[in-house]
């Protein structure tokens, strides 16, 4: 009943019939897709003319600063702003008394709460704000606000916070219902196992540490508001303002600007809501610009996490059981209850499984989704246990992965208990899928395309794995204190989600034959302004220079999740292609009727902006001729053509994943504990590669970000107050390009996705996870001891028992 897709490899260039593919789907012969065009904003970036939110100003703008909570948990009993208001240059002060007491929710439960409610839930929490003629005056006024607090008991440890006697941080209680995915019967899985391993691993918190900071400028015109801010989720930010203020969506315009880097930090954040409310109160445009320390200590971070569990396998290396309990700390305002995309599905060949994830609030900085959420933690725990099992059965890690990791057609279970499916069971959900979609959709809850197998095999060959791998816990060479070894790791993630709404996009074909794409995505350096344009250009038969993309204006971009959950290419790219297809259909209908003697539109094609009969370029007419003809015709139907997706995108969390497999050589100094990365190969299966330069950048960027988490990155919380002690780039150690092998290579898998645009899937999150596991394993092989992350020099030396 569900569509049986014919699987094909890109180089076979076979046609897939039906809605999701036609002859143009062949990667070979494509003119725009698959080519490494420079990103469209390259010149602006290197000349410094690209405007980020911090660069923006608007006329009559004043400056806002936020009063931050000095306590871990405290209620304001009295707030006196008179001295602040009396200061020359101060325009106004916003306190919780001015704020609608509505809960607003950021994308994917990264924030849930009121904009200000008179309670501080962590050191640095937003309490009030001042608008003044300059940042300096605003800051001085902040210091003049007199606040009396009732100090409340605080809890920092997420295990303590679970206790019913713990201080309660939220009205909903500290702990969310567990998110449970299970299949089979774990006791049976235990009985089948010849070997089992256990884990109890704590993960420190990674900071997005985004280079470039952020700002929010809000301006009201009557009862309508515009917000300029750097955001990966333009339309979700608009939704947040709607929830916080209770005003119609039609009165809210978000102009999302590029961000320096983001990794999930700049979605919709509470300081943006404060800017909107402060601007309303003072009746002037207000800009709130965060400094580096605020970006690192007052917005959000990756969760602290803990995995406890066991896994087992048979003597020949078949996983029989995975039984895992995983805790995540949400800090003050996070509300997540799951992080488990990675291992539940990627290691889904385990015969029996039970994964439970528990989200818990603490009086620490809010935690949210950071690139590879769950993959980097829960996923790393599972990779470590699988490595330990492979060692017990003396199997090569590449072979162990190929044997136990998911292949197309295998079951995907991660979404089984998802509330957003609006159905009590998977069976009910399946039964509710309309008949007409069933014929076109791939089979839900089963992997449609891609896997780690091909990239593992090709990667191992290219990295000369067989030669360089010396067995479990055995270095490949030892030179005094310097031990070298190789490691391999894998990662997977969804390719976007459909839970809060389906992705859409709109295109406008202009009378001159140029095309504008309107799609709500982020521009945090991942090249979406370029790759979305490539999809549209390829579909319409235009050169890339004729296509531009508006990514951030919610007045013109239809709703999408934005750039999160590795969504951008797969789901928004799908919508962009479908919208372009719709515009093209309209254009060809007009051209066929008016310029090609009522021929069948299906016989027409567009090449380089010229409409022509398929297979022949003679008698071609340009797109602009077609549009100008109907425009100057007084009976003309239109002067430009607007396209939108004609069908909904199938629910892709139930069938799409992207994969990474990475190989690394490390050198560990066993006397100092220092790890140096020597050689790197990052393999990526994202289906068709829309732009190899852009994807290479994504993959290496992910690998470096994962390497940072593996070796150094972690926030240090004060034991007494929970305040962050290293909210600066001196003591929060980010890897720089020079810390990573400069000859690192990237290898792309050859799979093709029948649903994704031109066969593409998602990309951003598998690479970070694969890198963490690869480096962890390589270090184990170098020194024979598993080291918990981050493997700082000191922690490594301690693991070796030398301190």
């Amino acid at each position: 009943m569900y569509k049986e897709f014919e699987f094909k490899s890109n180089d076979l260039a076979k046609a897939v019939p039906g809605v999701y593919g036609d002859v143009q789907d062949q990667v070979n012969g494509m003119k725009v897709v698959g080519h490494g065009f420079p990103v469209k904003d390259a010149v602006e970036k290197v000349t410094g003319s690209l405007k980020y939110a911090v660069d923006m100003t608007v006329q009559n703008m004043v400056h806002g600063k936020i009063l931050r909570c000095p306590h871990a948990h405290a209620r304001i009993t009295k707030i006196d702003t008179s001295k602040a208001e009396a200061l020359a240059g101060v325009i106004g002060v916003l306190t919780h008394h001015d704020v609608p007491q509505n809960d607003w929710e950021a994308a994917w439960f990264n924030y849930r709460g009121k904009v200000l409610d008179g309670v501080g839930r962590f050191v640095g929490d937003d309490l009030a704000a001042v608008a003044a003629v300059s940042e300096e005056v605003a800051q001085r006024a902040i210091e003049l606000i007199d606040v009396e607090y009732e100090i409340l008991a605080a809890v920092f440890d997420f295990e303590e916070a679970r206790s019913p006697d713990a201080p309660q941080i939220r009205v909903e209680g500290n702990e969310r219902d567990p998110y449970i995915v299970e299949w089979g019967d774990t006791s049976e899985g235990m009985a089948l196992a010849d070997h089992t391993v256990e884990c109890d691993i704590f993960y420190h918190s990674q900071q997005y540490a985004s280079i470039g900071r952020n700002a929010a400028i809000a301006e009201w015109m009557g009862d309508k508001v515009t917000l300029w801010t750097s955001s990966q989720t333009p339309t979700e930010t608009r939704d947040g303002i709607h929830e916080a203020l209770g005003i119609p969506l039609s009165k809210i315009r978000v102009m999302a600007l590029p961000a320096g880097s983001s990794f999930g930090q700049w979605w919709s954040n509470n300081f943006m809501m404060i800017a909107v409310l402060l601007a309303k109160k003072v009746r002037r445009p207000v800009k709130i610009e965060l400094d580096n320390e605020e970006c690192m200590s007052a917005v959000k971070r990756r969760h602290l996490e803990k995995t406890r569990g066991l896994m087992g396998c048979t003597a020949d290396g078949q996983l029989t059981v995975a039984k895992i309990d995983h805790l995540i700390d949400n800090g003050g305002y996070g509300f997540k209850d799951d992080v488990g995309f990675f291992c539940v599905d990627m290691w889904g060949k385990a015969l029996h499984g039970h994964y439970a994830i528990h989200g818990i609030n603490t009086n620490l900085l809010t935690a949210g989704c950071m690139r590879g959420v769950g993959d980097c933690t829960l996923g790393a725990s599972v990779e470590r246990m699988c490595n330990q099992l492979a060692e017990k059965v003396d199997m090569d890690p590449v072979e162990f992965r190929i044997k136990n990791q998911i292949k197309p057609g295998d079951e995907l279970r991660m979404q089984h208990s998802r509330d957003n499916m609006h159905h009590d069971s998977v069976e009910e959900y399946l039964a509710a899928i309309p008949e007409e979609y069933r014929d076109e959709w791939p089979k839900p809850f089963h992997l449609l395309s891609g896997s780690t197998e091909e990239i593992l095999r090709r990667g191992a060959k290219s990295f000369r794995w067989a030669e360089r791998w010396n067995g479990w816990g055995k270095p490949s060479s030892v030179d005094g204190p310097r031990h070298r070894a190789v490691g391999v790791g894998t990662g997977a993630h969804v390719c976007g989600v459909e839970f809060e709404g389906n992705a859409s996009a709109m295109v406008r074909l202009n009378p001159d034959g140029s095309l504008k794409v309107h799609c709500s995505v982020g521009r945090q350096g991942q090249g979406s302004e370029t790759t979305q344009a490539q999809v549209a250009a390829e579909e319409m038969g235009l050169s890339l220079s004729m296509v531009e993309v508006e990514t951030g204006d919610t007045d013109s971009c239809p709703w999408s999740h934005g750039s999160l959950a590795s969504n951008t290419m797969f789901r928004v790219g799908w919508a962009t292609r479908e919208a372009t297809r719709d515009a093209k259909r309209q254009l060809l209908e007009i051209a066929a009727r008016d310029m090609f003697d009522n021929s069948d539109p299906a016989d027409l094609a567009i090449t380089d902006g010229q409409v022509h009969i398929k297979g022949s370029m003679s008698d071609s007419v340009s797109i602009s001729e077609v549009l100008n003809m109907i425009r100057s015709d007084t009976l003309g139907q239109t002067s430009s053509i607007t396209g939108r997706p004609a069908v909904p995108m199938p629910p892709s969390t139930t069938f799409a994943r992207h994969f990474g497999a990475q190989f690394v050589e490390v050198e560990v100094d066993v006397d100092t504990g220092k790890i140096v990365l020597l050689d790197y190969l990052a393999c990526q299966d994202s289906g068709t590669v829309i732009n190899p330069q852009v994807l290479k950048n994504q993959v290496i960027g992910g690998a470096i970000c994962g390497a940072g988490f593996a070796i150094y990155e972690h926030l240090v919380f004060d034991k007494e107050t929970g305040a962050i002690k290293n909210a600066n780039l001196l003591d929060y150690k980010l890897l720089r390009a020079a810390d990573f092998p400069h000859k690192a290579e990237v290898l792309f898998g050859d799979s093709y996705d029948p649903v994704g645009p031109f066969g593409a899937r998602g990309a951003g999150e598998a690479p970070i996870a694969a890198s963490i596991s690869a480096i962890s394993q390589a270090v184990y092989n170098a020194i024979g001891v598993w080291v918990d992350l981050p493997m700082t020099p000191e922690r490594l030396i301690r693991a070796l028992g030398k301190v």
């Binding site: 220092k674 150690k733 720089r736 020079a738 020099p793 000191e794 030396i797 301190v803």
Partner: protein
């Protein structure tokens, strides 16, 4: 709130010192400004007058003489980095600067600023102390000289007071060969040393170690010497030091360290690393002197 300050530009070293004397604690010299900017922005330093010494002439030369190397206080880290061909001691200092800051920051940051900032983790301090370098300090009416190991009073405090550090002199004793080596523990490519050590050995023609300097950083409020480790080495032949003696001298040095635990590293780790780095520095020195570890 960051303080507002008046900007002063003296035209001579003498005028700079007079300005500093006039405003005392409220005034600060500005060399490369790489430490100052951060301290001012973070409101660690508040001052009413900023005395910009970057325009002073004559303080940015490196002179290599028979009996000493003289490095002006305003020599930038990148200039020191480029001096690697001029003397083998400068080669080591050049290697040290390559570990410091970023290439961009090194063009601004000065040698004098690195020492005057008096960070216990500063990279140039240990090699200068190990080499028995002297600080040349310009006063209102002349020059005074202070051995580098008596230059520091505490974190961010030196004996310079209202005077001006004008140069650093590395003495080159007659008919002896002096070498210096440095090791540090850091995290990423741009970092402050978690802990560091430098040793300098001078050997005479008979291949005897006539003078040893062992300096340890980030293990006390100021960079310290390990006199016991120095005595242990002095008088030994560069061909007679054994692996176990290397370890021993590392141990002696680590006993002199008085580290604390902070956000960067624990006291225990720092102490353990002093042992490793001291031994590595001495081994490198003996290698450069052409000796052999037995």
């Amino acid at each position: 709130m960051q303080s507002h300050f008046e900007y002063l530009r003296p035209s001579s070293t003498k005028e700079a010192v007079q300005m500093k004397i006039e405003f005392g604690q409220r005034a600060k010299y500005w060399a490369g400004g790489t430490d100052m900017t951060l301290r001012w922005r973070r409101e660690i330093d508040r001052f009413s007058h900023c005395i910009d010494i970057t325009y002073l002439t004559g303080l940015d030369n490196i002179e290599v003489e028979e009996d000493c190397i003289r490095i002006g206080a305003l020599v930038s880290l990148s200039a020191l980095e480029r001096a690697d061909q001029r003397h083998h001691l400068l080669k080591t200092l050049s290697d040290v600067t390559k570990l410091m800051c970023t290439p961009q920051t090194r063009t601004l940051a000065t040698v004098g600023g690195n020492l005057s900032n008096a960070s216990p983790a500063a990279d140039l301090t240990p090699p200068f102390i190990a080499m028995d370098a002297l600080a040349e300090i310009t006063t209102e009416d002349g020059i005074r000289t202070v051995p580098m190991d008596q230059f520091f009073e505490g974190v961010n405090r030196t004996v310079v007071g209202d005077d001006l550090l004008s140069a650093i002199e590395i003495p080159l004793p007659e008919s002896q060969h002096k070498v210096v080596k440095y090791h540090r523990i850091d995290r990423t490519i741009v970092d402050i040393a978690l802990v560091n050590a430098s040793t300098s050995l001078s050997a005479d023609r008979s291949r005897t170690i006539t003078r040893a300097g062992v300096a340890l950083g980030a293990v006390a409020p100021i960079v310290i010497r390990s006199p016991a480790a120095e005595r242990f080495l002095e008088g030994k032949s560069i061909d007679s030091v054994s692996e176990s003696e290397l370890e021993k001298v590392g141990e002696i040095a680590s006993e002199d360290a008085k580290p604390i635990s902070d956000v960067r590293a624990s006291a225990d780790y720092r102490r353990a690393m002093i042992k490793v780095m001291t031994a590595r520095c001495i081994k490198d020195c003996i290698d450069e002197l052409g000796g052999t570890i037995s």
